[in-house]
Amino acid sequence: MKLLDRKITTKINDMISDLVATCSRVLSTEAKVNEEASYDSKDDAKNRLKLVLMHDRSQLTPCQMEQMREEMLDVISRYVEIDRDALDLCLEAETNTIALVANIPVVRAKNEEEIQNNIENVQEQLQEEVQETAGVQEDIQQEEAQEQPGHS
């Protein structure tokens, strides 16, 4: 008997809550407007998840992202004058692919002469670096050559 009672009461409770829900939905158009205006927590979860998964999947550390940003800035600023602080680099996902999206505000275009100068400067720098490393390598080889007879 007791079991039956409990079943009936739960059923009645269900019915009442269903009725209350429908009544409140029908009566309160005001509440509905508020509901639409408020942001669903599910959307929060979805957006946050998408962003975090994109970074997880790209396997780039924040440090590497920053380095990439700096290097890109160096290259771009040889050709155009840009606002370095305003550069916005982020990852975006479209279905299954990840895109790297950069928004770079250009302050001023550089003229032919400036660009040529910049490129020459970079080439000189590169050559210097190459020579330096070659010099270091020679030093190492010389040291090794000196050490070897001592060992034998």
């Binding site: 009725l19 599910k42 979860a45 998840l49 997880d56 999947r57 279905t95």
Partner: protein
């Protein structure tokens, strides 16, 4: 014909790997398949508890590896279904007691005698997980509609994709609360499959009966009319190749007022 080896995994702990293994295994066996379940969570075994077999375990997976017994001796038969067996994990050893090769060897041996070998994976992505997937050809990923569980599932999917032996993997979304989805306070089934871009094997609604079933050591598929039990049985039928539609949790059921409206809105044929 050799059997299918399916690993059940999730990344995050506590999302229902072991419960799913116990229930999918039991449901498959109830549908006539020969099923072996392996608990690979060494040191933290629980599959025996959910199956109510904790008092029948004499030898474990580690005992077999250490050649203390034969594989047949380590397999514990289910209380009710004779075609369902469990290979329990050791409670005393740790994960280093087993290697991936040894796990693969066990799976290969078991799939000769069974139609389905279900491997219950431990949480995490370390050695225990690597062991669990070593012998598997298919995977079932368990997740819940929570951010942390979905993120971890994505990590697992990445690792499974990189594994050549896993031919296919599907998702089971566990602990879904239809009412919260309807009020937009829970990620919906479509949200999760979209984000993870993975095929869906089934959806398990949140069900208090799961706790009761764990208390009794009786899988919920053995309970009549339990929502979660029905959902697990549907998953087993899908694994067996049957076409069973996945119920829609997105739209609320028609209310009393809707039903009356429908009566007036349906066009009457004259």
């Amino acid at each position: 014909m050799s059997g299918r080896v399916i690993v059940i995994t999730s990344g995050k702990g506590g999302v229902g790997k072991t419960t799913s293994t116990a229930n999918i295994g039991t449901a498959l066996a109830k549908n006539g398949a020969r099923v072996a379940m392996i608990d690979t969570d060494i040191g933290l075994r629980n599959l025996d508890l959910l199956m109510g077999l904790e008092n029948r375990i004499v030898y474990t997976l580690v005992d077999y590896i250490q050649e203390k017994c034969k594989l047949q001796q380590a397999l514990v038969k289910d209380k009710k279904i004779p075609t369902l067996s469990l290979l329990a994990a050791a409670q005393t050893s740790d994960k280093t007691a087993v290697t991936a090769e040894q796990m693969k060897d066990i799976c290969d041996k078991l799939k000769e005698d069974f139609d389905y070998v279900l491997v219950d994976s431990p949480a995490g992505i370390e050695q225990g997980f690597q062991n669990a997937i070593a012998g598997a050809n298919e995977a079932i990923i368990i997740t819940t509609p929570e951010m942390s569980a979905v993120r971890d599932a994505d990590r697992i999917i990445g690792l499974l994709e990189a594994n050549e032996n896993i031919a296919n993997y599907k998702l089971v979304l566990n602990r879904v609360r239809p009412k919260m989805i309807q009020s937009n306070d829970m990620l919906s089934v479509n949200d999760v499959t979209d984000i993870l871009s993975v095929k869906l094997l089934g959806v398990i609604p949140e069900d208090e009966n799961i706790i009761v079933s764990t208390n009794k050591g009786e899988p919920i598929v053995n309970m009549e009319n339990a929502r979660a039990g029905l959902a697990y049985n549907n998953i087993a039928r899908r694994i067996l190749g049957e076409e069973v539609p996945i119920p829609d949790f997105e739209t609320p059921p028609p209310t009393f007022v809707d039903r009356i409206k429908n009566i007036f809105l349906t066009p009457v044929k004259i």
